[in-house]
């Protein structure tokens, strides 16, 4: 029954928004439902680490430590984003850019978005994972195009076309894998556990085709090169809470699918095949992010390219494939999710205050809105991988694992690109935060704007994770276990 809660509660939340619209009573319904997902995730994590994987009666849902951990990420980032949503819409409605109806529809779609992501990480069958990931595309398309400006409609179109095409490749991969499984004794269908256990018997030629298609397809949704073109547009045009969710969790949910596929690949084809594929995609993503971040003029796009970078790093961790690398990659998913959600929400606030998303248009944020600027600055330092934030720990772990696994050259290249990106990020941000305040501030009020508590909590969680991770290491180790294939 526990497994139904993370999917069911957001669906109920969507119904509440649908029936009652945006009222005083429903304002916090979204945050409450995300909180429920987080609470279930924690309960599930405790249960799974004590007594092993949980399966729902029908066998359609299954939670092992990895699913529980991903659910934790969904709950945590979802809570931050939904908790900041009421304040965001209050400002949007005051500025006349949204109505209570848009806000209500936003609530419905965001709740469905949470439900589909929870389904994707809990599904026991690769086919259901695919359906859930595709459903996230359909739900979020309207969220990206919510503002109905030229730019946002263009972004939504690109997003739907590229992601649908990418995910169609994943469907072809699923079908081909199903074909391979049907001709292997002991396996039938796409149940992830049986498939991974029996993978060594799969026909290598057919499996190779399936793996390439699946990794490319889910990689599209995770924003990895070469099919990443939708990401900067969609993330920069979506409303702030949606950008936070998409960047913070949706990308890693897609990457979770890649991780599951990689287990099958490692058992069927040896570790070399997926490692080469993922290393190439990861380094290409990092190189692309670095080249477009240098001289980036739009701060929301800057954050979007940084997402490509971090997902590239997680993919690199998956490519290395040692227990240390996988643990670090998973910690990176959580740390990046928290920091990026905070930053996108902060960027949304900056956009509301200044009316421009150009870095040049924002000057001296620190003297005008010290609290907001401090949060934003600290978030960027977290993204750049500085201590005490957890991204420092996970990047250190990735580098150590990379050299340990004999991938010295690729790891050095990745490290170099990460440093270049960190410099570009800090340079862009310092231009926004420092200096004398710009004269044309559309908000007109010099009063410092309060920072929603949610943002501060998110950053705090990220920092605490980096210093003392509590019971998390045990869960991370456990979550990485099914992913390690020794062959």
């Amino acid at each position: 029954m526990t497994l139904l809660v993370p999917v069911g509660v957001p669906v109920l939340g969507a119904l509440v928004h649908l029936l009652f619209g945006r009222r005083r009573a429903t304002t916090w319904a979204g945050a409450a439902s995300a909180g429920a997902v987080l609470a279930t995730a924690i309960a599930l994590a405790v249960r799974v680490s004590r007594s092993g994987p949980v399966t729902a009666p029908a066998g359609l849902l299954r939670a092992d430590a990895l699913s529980a951990f991903m659910l934790l990420v969904i709950g945590a980032v979802g809570l931050i984003a939904t908790a900041a949503t009421p304040a965001y819409f209050r400002a949007e409605i005051a500025a006349g850019r949204a109505t209570t109806r848009t806000a209500a529809r936003h609530g419905v779609l965001v709740q469905l978005f949470l439900a589909t992501m929870a389904l994707a990480v809990l599904a026991a069958n690769l086919g259901v994972v695919w359906v859930a990931v595709e459903a996230t595309t359909i739900v979020t398309a309207f969220l990206v195009g919510q503002r109905r400006t030229r730019a946002s409609v263009e972004a939504a179109w690109k997003y739907v076309v590229i992601c649908s095409a990418g995910i169609a490749l994943a469907l072809l991969g699923t079908i081909v894998l199903n074909f391979a499984a049907a001709h292997t004794p002991g396996t039938a269908g796409l149940d992830l556990v049986t498939l991974s256990a029996q993978a060594h018997g799969l026909d290598p030629g057919v499996t190779r085709i399936a793996i390439v298609l699946l990794v490319l397809g889910f990689g599209t949704k995770a924003g990895l090169a070469p099919l990443h073109a939708w990401l900067p547009d969609a993330h920069s045009q979506a409303p702030a809470p949606v950008s936070a969710l998409m960047s913070g969790v949706l990308l890693s949910v897609a990457l979770y699918a890649v991780l599951r596929v990689k287990v099958i690949s490692d058992a069927a084809l040896g570790t070399g095949f997926a490692r080469t594929l993922l290393t190439v995609m990861a380094l290409a993503s990092l190189a692309l992010a670095a080249s477009l971040l240098i001289g980036q003029r739009d701060y929301k796009r800057m954050l979007a390219y940084s997402s490509i970078e971090h997902l590239g790093l997680v993919a690199f961790g998956a490519a290395i494939g040692s227990p240390l690398a996988l643990t670090a990659a998973l910690l990176h998913v959580l740390g990046h999710g928290l920091a990026k959600a905070v930053l996108f929400l902060g960027a949304g606030r900056v956009l509301q205050l200044t009316g421009t998303s150009r870095i040049d248009g924002v000057r001296g944020l620190l003297s005008r809105h010290p609290a907001l600027a401090t949060t934003f600055g600290a978030g960027v330092l977290a993204l750049a991988g500085l201590p005490p934030f957890s991204l420092f720990a996970s990047e250190l772990g990735l580098v150590r694992a990379g050299f340990g696994a004999g991938l010295g050259l690729a790891t050095s290249a990745a490290l170099l690109l990460v440093l270049v990106i960190a410099a570009a990020l800090i340079n862009g941000t310092s231009r926004m935060l420092l200096g004398p305040p710009s004269t044309e501030d559309v908000s007109g009020t010099a009063a410092a704007s309060p920072v929603p508590i949610a943002l501060a909590c998110g950053l705090l969680a990220c920092a605490v994770l980096g210093v003392a991770a509590g019971g998390l290491p045990a869960l991370l180790d456990l979550a990485a276990q099914p992913l390690v294939v020794t062959r």
């Binding site: 409609v153 072809l172 391979a180 030629g205 190779r208 900067p232």
Partner: protein, 217 residues
Amino acid sequence: MHVQLLDLACGALLLTAVLVLWRRELAVIIRVFALQGAALAVLVGVLAAHEGSAELWAVAAGVLVLRAGVLPHLLRRALAGAGESRRETRPLVNVSASLLAAAALTLLAYAVSRPLVELAPSAATQAVPVGVTVVLIGFFVLVTRRRALSQLVGFLLMDNGITAVGFLTTTTGAGLVVELGVSLDVLLAVLVMQVLTTRMRETFGDTDLDELRELRD
């Protein structure tokens, strides 16, 4: 008999995909697309007759309704609102080059899907490369056409190809569930794209994607 009919259906599938590349009139492209949907339904029907499965017959009927009826209807409705922009005026790759590309893609598809055929040689799996070719041609249309509607057709071609591969490789069982899930998804994706096309027309006045130049680095 079964094999000839199967090959005929696959031939029609391939021919219609190439026709989409050849013609530029959007109304004609939609008609060809409907024809392809019918060919796909015939393909599933032949498999159903071969296996004597009532379930597959039901799926064939579903495919016919969705891919030769509902989806072309949705496309036509999107086109009706489009006003003068009824032609794919300037594709990125011209028609003769596109046709050459289609030939190259067919070769590629046959080369790539060799392991699939070798794993379980049968009349059905021999036809898998055709499905893969349609997927590749669909992807080609998607990247080289500029009208929103042509891109939509490209996406649907890909999907037809994938469905064909699905039916040619799944022996029995899961067919109905898979097709149901996939069809629902395609329908939703197309509805989303149709809404977006309408919104694009409201904001841009046209759905030529050349107009989409606001977002780039």
